[in-house]
């Protein structure tokens, strides 16, 4: 049974279909929200709300326009942004691009194992750069799908990622 058919079953209250979809998508959505929120206490509430919307608003999903994973990521992403706005934090606006420094990345980073540093550095990025990197680097999402969620073009998405990676690299260098 395809995902579109499973989602269709949700309208008739089919919990088995819901369980199948939950098992398929819970881990990636949890990973996405965890990275967006930096393991914030509200992470689980956002994941839960995302999947509750699949149950209550599943009929709004249109398989012709997006994959289910993209649709769910979109919901999770918007809930994260709403959360940041409500709590008035971490919605950093885009700033002018920094000078392109091509210095060598220190060898110590090869042995860099502290994921907390990466988590903290990711949280220091402007929200859109962070989202773009998480979607494409960690979630394995295609550039087109990520661009749809961020409501931008593929070219602009690539620019967000390149700038985000450059800034992230500098932040990590400063931490070690």
């Amino acid at each position: 049974m395809t995902e579109a058919e499973l989602v269709e079953q949700l309208s008739s209250g089919d919990e088995n279909a819901y369980r199948i979809l939950l098992d398929r998508h819970l881990a990636p959505i949890t990973a996405y929200v965890t990275r967006m929120m930096a393991s914030n206490a509200d992470t689980e509430d956002i994941v839960q709300e995302t999947f509750l919307r699949l149950w209550t608003h599943g009929t709004r999903y249109n398989p012709d326009t997006a994959k289910l994973t993209t649709w769910l990521h979109n919901i999770a992403h918007n809930l994260c942004i709403d959360h940041f706005r409500k709590h008035n934090r971490m919605v950093l606006e885009e700033t002018a691009d920094e000078p392109d420094e091509q210095e060598e990345f220190v060898d110590q980073l090869t042995h860099f194992e502290n994921t907390k540093h990466v988590e903290q550095s990711l949280m220091q990025l402007p929200e859109r750069q962070r989202s773009a990197i998480i979607m494409c680097h960690y979630q394995g999402m295609s550039n087109r799908d990520a661009a749809v969620i961020l409501e931008t073009s593929v070219e602009a998405l690539e620019s967000l990622m390149a700038r985000g990676r450059r800034k992230l690299r500098k932040l990590l260098e400063a931490k070690i």
Binding site: A27, A41, Q48, T110, T115, A162, L172
Partner: protein, 141 residues
Amino acid sequence: MNHTRLLQIINAYGTNSDRWPEEERLAALHQLEQDSEAQQAIVNLKSFDAALDSYVTAPAPHLRNRILSNLHKSWMDSCIEWLLPSFDQLLAYFWRPVLAASLPLITGLLLGSSLFTVEIADTWEDEIELIALYDSGNLDE
């Protein structure tokens, strides 16, 4: 595919070609074979990408059951959950019961103040009546 585009791809998507745009991947890999500057860029960025990859999130096994158990909540369940939130919501844990406990007090104050207004009207009428009686008593004299 050319040198500039390949560097753009490396800078945006990183050193792992699996993450490169699918439609450009083969051409990019072909370009990489003959592009020493791009090869050097990959060498320089390898450790950075390794650092990014080291950031792994922990699974939340209890979350599945939590989501499933919340599918069919009645409005009463939602009310109780709102009034008695989980311990991790420390602020809500304190203020919600306080708010709930203060509701009867607020209701009582509202009711009391409205009844008090009626009482004043009655007292005033009574007072007029008494004055009238007093005056008529004086006339009788």
